[in-house]
């Protein structure tokens, strides 16, 4: 009877212990089979997405007529989709100007935005606007109200053969021609074939511009390059062709041709709405599908989502498949070999020196930098005064620790050295691209002439005096979400030694932060106690020996 009682007590104790321990065992990475609720929510939100259409474009008579140019195709598209071009005209994809920016200081590639790649499109339009979703933006005279100039095909064609020439202001080649910049041959499109192939934009469509920003593959974002055309799950859990195989528009949901996403100072989303709260909310944030507490109950990461962006832990490194450009120093451009411009290959593949452009630094598997971020990125314009005595931040994430909408988010920071006006203290527009007899830098290799020409074409004042200044430019890191096993671990931030959060202020971070005064007093007390008992013990040992002796 007594033995039975003891056994019962032990069983009860074990049961209580198991009950008590349970919340701790639900940490990520345990092999208990159950998955995190945020994952389940997202799977429910995205499963069974069989997209269907009611039109077969190969059967449309309008697309069977002979075409010889893009605008002719556009007119055919508009003969059915009558409102498409006017919708496009309202988007930043068309205007390249942030509609929310002040009228006296418009921001955007088409306005006063400065970057530290090719700096500005002004004067360089035919080259830069090869990535415009239009035909013929060759200079300031381009008619932005002409519906026939909208390029429907670059976003919608599905043959993969439609190519805009890199230097023809958004037009495809009219006849086969080699572009000296990349040595590739550009063919005129098979217009009927590409026009009849149209469908919803895929990764390839978005990628032709967004993977090649800044003049080539891998240059700009760090989390967007040609490796994202057909990524595997290890590179991007959502877009991986061996996984969910998402297209860009799966998250960048679109209404009337307005694609969800951040536009300069306008956040991609202001609230933290999930699809369960609003089934028409844009899926642009992680939380839209995964909710604000996506991890298993009791997992500490759920407590981080108020201050830490999902991307911070889930994208530990960017540029994981291909290297990305991290620095561009224009000040060394213009050096020639045997009187000729040259390029010098670097260890990662792409060139580290180019006579036209100066020195580059490329990096792979880059650890992001972290900033408080409310979804806004503010920027310097060509009209803003700068302080050349220190590095100029051309743009910066906006966010304060006490802003409930701000979270700590990862960024690629691209540094550079580029021309500024030493008298007016403003950044300068270089005229880079142009025919050999033009004032372009890549024609005469004369900075002063190129800067005078660029500033004139941009309609801005230039004193004639210039020098080069250190600059930085940030890109939010949000693509290339890694599998959960590759998430940033606790001790990469919660450490005094090289913490990822080293420059993050305004939050007490256990493991990184302490209290100097208490630490000094505390260790003094501990060492004092130790020394005290040691002396006391010594005294006892000596006195007892003396007595025995």
């Amino acid at each position: 009877m007594k033995r039975l009682k003891i056994a019962g007590n032990i069983l009860l104790a074990l049961w209580m212990l198991g009950f008590y321990v349970h919340p701790l065992s639900a940490s990520p990475g345990t092999a208990d089979g159950a998955q995190a609720p945020g994952r389940g929510m997202a799977q429910q939100a995205t499963k069974g997405a069989k997209r269907w259409i009611t039109a077969d474009h190969t059967k449309h008579e309008a697309l069977k007529q002979p075409f010889s140019s893009g605008p002719e195709v556009t007119k055919a598209c508009l003969s059915c989709h009558s409102e498409a071009a006017t919708q496009i005209h309202k988007t930043i994809h068309w205007t390249w100007v942030d509609p929310a920016s002040p009228k006296d200081k418009p921001m955007g590639k088409g306005a006063l935005t400065v970057n530290n790649y090719c700096v500005s499109i002004h004067g360089n339009e035919p080259r830069c606007t090869s990535c415009h979703i239009g035909y013929g933006w060759k200079d300031k005279t381009f008619d932005f109200s002409d519906v026939s100039k909208v390029d429907c095909l670059v976003c919608h064609e599905q043959t993969g053969t439609y190519k805009k020439h890199p230097a023809m202001a958004g037009n495809p080649a009219k006849e086969p021609v080699v572009f000296p910049g990349d040595g590739q041959k550009y063919l005129p499109p098979e217009w009927n074939q590409v026009a009849q192939s149209v469908g919803r934009p895929t990764r390839e469509n978005c990628g032709v511009c967004h993977f090649y920003g800044g003049g080539g593959d891998m240059v700009k974002h760090g989390d967007l390059d040609s490796s994202m055309t057909k990524p595997n799950k290890a590179l991007d859990v959502h877009m991986g062709i061996d996984g969910k195989n998402f297209d860009c528009t799966r998250c960048h949901t679109t209404a009337a041709h307005q694609v969800a996403g951040r536009i300069y100072s306008t956040p991609a989303a202001t609230g933290r709405t999930t699809l369960a709260q609003d089934d028409l909310t844009p899926r642009i944030t992680c939380e839209s599908c995964h909710t604000a507490t996506p991890h298993k109950p009791g997992v500490k990461a759920n407590d981080h989502t108020d201050k830490v962006a999902c991307q911070t832990c889930h994208i530990s490194e960017f540029a994981r498949a291909l290297p990305t450009k991290m620095r561009w120093d224009w000040s060394t451009a213009g050096q020639k070999k045997d009187g000729k411009p040259y390029k010098e290959k670097g260890p990662l593949g792409p060139p580290v020196y180019d006579t036209q452009k100066g020195n580059f630094t490329w990096e792979k598997n880059v650890r992001p930098q972290y900033f408080w971020y409310s979804g806004r990125i503010d920027a310097v314009s060509f009209k803003d005064p700068i302080d050349p005595t220190k590095p100029v931040a051309l743009n910066w994430p906006v966010g304060r620790p006490d802003d409930p909408n701000a979270r700590i988010a990862p960024f690629k920071v691209h540094t550079g050295k580029q021309p500024y006006d030493t008298v007016n203290k403003t950044m300068l527009v270089p005229h880079l691209f142009g025919p050999p007899d033009s004032d372009a830098y890549w024609a005469k290799y004369d900075w002063k002439i190129a800067l005078e020409s660029g500033m004139k074409k941009a309609g801005l004042a230039f004193s004639g005096q210039f020098d080069f200044v250190e600059t930085s430019y940030v890109f939010p890191t949000t693509h290339m979400v890694a599998p959960k096993e590759k998430s940033v671990s606790c001790n990469e931030c919660h450490t005094r030694d090289n913490s990822r959060m080293a420059n993050i202020q305004g939050v007490y971070l256990p493991g990184r932060d302490g209290n100097k005064v208490i630490e000094i007093l505390g260790w003094a007390a501990v060492l004092g106690s130790f020394a005290g008992v040691l002396l006391h013990a010594l005294g006892r040992a000596v006195s007892s020996r003396r007595k025995e002796g």
């Binding site: 500490k300 007490y508 256990p510 493991g511 302490g514 209290n515 208490i518 007390a525 004092g528 007892s544």
Partner: protein, 223 residues
């Protein structure tokens, strides 16, 4: 220390089973909390931040629950009286540890069943059980529940301050532990105190009149 030959030694049952269990449980919990707490603070890397953090939280909550049983025990058994502070013989005890102990003098206040703490111990253990440990548990609980502060109307609190209080408490407990570990060697033999805390029985000096030290204390001259 050598046992004083002039004194007769008696075995008394000093610590009940629960008392001993509680002492060793609490000491284990505190040592684990110190080891994981200072790692969480970033002093060193031993278990890894995540493990240290998880263990620290788990053990901390365990301590809090176990402490509630201790509070229940101490009030239902009346043992709380053992912690009532007194100044009587306090100076004699201080003098003993600073001076008499080196001469082999007998302890001015030997233990007995209903007065197991000398005046110095009463003061130290009262501060510990009624102040330092509760402050540490409360600051720890607040630290742990940081994410619920605004929901609880505590949004005005500063994590820096809570963390600083908790860290200061950790240093104080570590200092106590060092002194305590040393003091257990000061019984009539090096292991006497430890033995008592394991099996409950301790050999103490049976001196006449000792039972009434609280009244007669000033009449005696132990030196």
């Amino acid at each position: 220390m050598n046992a004083n030959d002039t004194c007769k030694m008696v075995n008394i049952y000093l610590y009940t089973r629960y008392e001993r269990f509680w002492h060793w449980l609490q000491s284990a919990l505190i040592i684990i909390l110190l080891a994981t707490g200072f790692e969480t603070n970033g002093v060193y890397t031993l278990f890894g931040f995540k493990n240290a953090f998880d263990v620290h939280n788990f053990i901390g909550i365990t301590w809090l629950i176990a402490f509630a049983f201790f509070v229940f025990w101490i009030f239902t058994t009346g043992e709380w009286r053992q912690y009532l502070p007194t100044t009587k013989k306090m100076l004699l005890v201080v003098r003993y540890y600073l001076y008499g102990i080196f001469r082999g003098d007998p302890h001015p206040v030997p233990k007995r069943k209903d007065a197991k703490h000398n005046p110095l111990q009463r003061l130290v253990y009262l501060s510990l059980a009624a102040f330092l440990l509760p402050v540490q548990m409360l600051s720890g609980l607040l630290y742990w529940s940081y994410n619920s502060w605004s929901a609880w109307g505590l949004g005005w609190m500063s994590l820096n301050v809570v963390a600083a209080v908790h860290l200061a408490g950790g240093f104080a407990i570590l200092s106590f532990l060092i002194v305590h570990l040393y003091m257990i060697t000061t019984g009539h033999s090096l292991g006497a105190h430890t033995r008592a805390m394991i099996c409950g029985w301790e050999e103490v000096e049976a001196r006449e009149g000792i039972e009434e030290w609280e009244i007669k204390s000033r009449a005696k001259n132990p030196v």
